[in-house]
């Protein structure tokens, strides 16, 4: 999310050291080579995932290249359990995004705009939540559910994911709200607008980029989460849980295809966001 926002600053400083020296590659040879190697290394598993979604494999195992096929794209939903897990992941991500964005936005707004009793300790709780290891967050929540005798399943996954997403939304919105010009809200009130009108017409549009960033981050975190979800999932299976479960036995090509489609969708969304961002300037 930062990448997209970072663009505003990009054109500000065209002169960078190293650029001025004529005849020398910026940064020498080593730095760009190293960086491109790292980028290649980071992309390698993704490239492999995409390629082997087109593999014309015959057996249950998708191990060696056996020719190009689009079969797995046609039979994308041939494994009912896998389809169900993807459906769970998508609906859970949607629900979690709505709840966590709403609660996180309000919390971030309160922390960014006001000084109030308990704001310090709330910041501390959020910091501890972000800093705590995922295993511990999952284990602690599971402890509560065990004690209270709550059966684990779809609902407890939603509760768990909202819990670890709220701080991320709150932090992004807080930063936005803190840098907001308060006189605009005062002007709105002076002109006779009520609290709700002021919120919807003035406050919300100003913090909206932070809210959007928080929502996208939440969706990504939710759909990707394995550890905390697995502790509170019971017999409900999400997409990462399903893949983890079969990882020892061999992953069917449909997983590659679904991974590829999610990847393509995410990249498209990010790129179009960046392009529209640039155009708006």
């Amino acid at each position: 999310m930062t990448v997209l926002e970072g663009q505003e600053e990009e054109e500000r400083a065209p002169q960078r050291p190293g650029r001025g020296r004529r005849g020398r590659r910026p940064g020498g040879w080593l730095l760009p080579i190293w960086s491109w190697l790292v980028i290649f290394w980071l992309s390698l598993p993704i490239i492999v995932m995409i390629i082997f979604g087109f593999n014309n494999t015959t057996g249950k195992f998708n191990i060696s290249w056996q020719g190009f096929t689009l079969r797995w794209y046609q039979q994308l939903f041939a494994i009912p359990d896998l389809t169900q897990s993807l459906e769970n992941s998508l609906t859970i991500a949607a629900i979690v995004t709505i709840i966590a964005t709403a609660l996180g936005t309000l919390l971030g707004l309160a922390l960014g705009r006001y000084r109030f009793r308990g704001s310090g300790s709330t910041n501390l709780i959020m910091f501890a939540n972000i800093a705590a290891p995922e295993v511990v967050l999952g284990a602690a929540l599971l402890s509560l559910f065990l004690l209270a005798g709550v059966p684990r399943g779809y609902l407890t996954i939603v509760i768990a994911q909202v819990m670890f997403c709220i701080p991320y939304v709150a932090v992004t919105v807080r930063a936005r709200a803190a840098s907001m010009d308060r006189s605009l809200e005062e002007a709105s009130r002076d002109l006779g607008a009520g609290a709700y009108t002021t919120f919807y017409k003035v406050t919300l549009p100003m913090i909206f980029p932070g809210v959007m960033a928080g929502a996208l981050l939440t969706f990504a975190l939710s759909i990707d989460d394995y550890i905390i979800t697995s502790f509170n999932a019971g017999s409900t299976v999400t997409f990462p849980l399903w893949v983890f479960g079969v990882s020892r036995l061999g992953v069917p090509p449909q997983v590659n295809v679904m991974g590829t489609l999610i990847f393509a969708f995410g990249v498209l969304l990010a790129v179009s966001g960046a392009v529209s961002n640039r155009r708006r300037k």
Binding site: W34, L106, Y114, F127, A131, A132, E134, V135, V171, F231
Partner: protein, 289 residues
């Protein structure tokens, strides 16, 4: 009078739902886990609170190998992440020019693929007769029984791979903030490039490095996905143990005690870091990641 009260209460109403969610499902559970960690009993007869702090001692004694291994893996992965990402962040921040955003975006591509699938993909790439090892074996470069999976290298490699973006981002953000005028001033005063790097770039990058270390070390140390998918029986980490104690052995007190030791150890480290840095900085960096 009514309006002023409403205004004074506004932040509380705004904060309440989110705050309540965090208290109910994060703060209270932590205390519940603390309580479970000192109980005794078993799953059949039920657990009772006996303030049996011995659980911590037993847990540590029984699983100190996995604890220490996790910390060592986490440290190595963090150092590798730092060494790998610093030059990349430096190159993009100072020489990225118009392409800064695009280059950064390429570094973040892994985020668009599920963590488990990425790790699974490495398992596939590194498998004993996979695309890397089988040619090497047929050319005789490595012996037939050579393997990478189920070794330290595979697990640490996986951890380094998976958490690298969390290191690159904060370092990039810190480097990007450096005013180029500082480097020009250094050059004008006849400072060499090395001097500029040592006296300007490195000190100013420290907040980013600290945040990156934090964002990498904590999840890497407590991760068990890499150890499960890429590792073997000799590479189990403390996350694996906690998971097994909870779900296979159904020994909740031990699992809770182990979680607490892990959290206490890591949080003490984190808060020590945060004090040196200022909480807001770390939180902002965390948000950026």
């Amino acid at each position: 009078m009514h309006g002023r009260w409403a205004a004074r209460l506004a932040p509380y109403w705004l904060a309440l739902p989110g705050w309540l969610w965090l208290v109910l499902f994060f703060v209270i559970p932590t205390f519940v886990m603390l309580s479970i960690s000192t109980q005794t009993g078993d799953i059949v007869n039920g657990f009772t609170q006996t303030f049996h702090w011995q659980n911590y001692v037993d847990g540590w004694n029984q699983f100190s190998t996995q604890f220490i291994r996790s910390i060592i893996y986490g440290l190595i992965a963090t150092v590798l992440c730092l060494l790998i990402s610093f030059p990349v962040a430096y190159w993009i921040a100072f020489f990225g020019g118009r392409h800064k955003s695009s280059l950064l975006f390429l570094l973040l591509l892994p985020f668009f693929v599920s963590f488990v699938i990425r790790t699974q993909s490495w398992n596939f790439i590194l498998s004993d007769d996979g695309m890397v090892l089988s040619p090497l074996k047929s050319w005789g470069v490595v012996p037939q029984d050579f393997h990478i999976l189920a070794t330290n290298v595979a697990v640490i490699g996986g951890l380094t791979y998976n958490f690298l973006p969390f290191m690159v981002l904060p370092i990039y953000v810190a480097l990007e903030r450096i005013d180029p005028a500082l480097l020009e001033a250094s050059a004008d005063l006849y400072g060499s490039k090395v001097t500029a790097l040592r006296r300007i770039v490195l000190p100013l990058s420290l907040p980013g490095v600290f945040a990156g270390v934090l964002l990498t070390f904590v999840p890497a140390t407590s991760d068990y996905v890499n150890a499960t998918i890429l590792g073997g029986t000799n590479t189990t980490m403390i996350g694996n143990v906690i998971q097994t104690e909870f779900f296979t052995n159904l020994d909740y007190p031990t699992a809770a005690a182990l979680s607490f030791i892990l959290m206490a150890g890591l949080l003490i480290g984190v808060f020590a870091y945060a004090r040196a840095l200022g909480t807001d900085d770390v939180l902002d960096m965390a948000g950026a990641g």
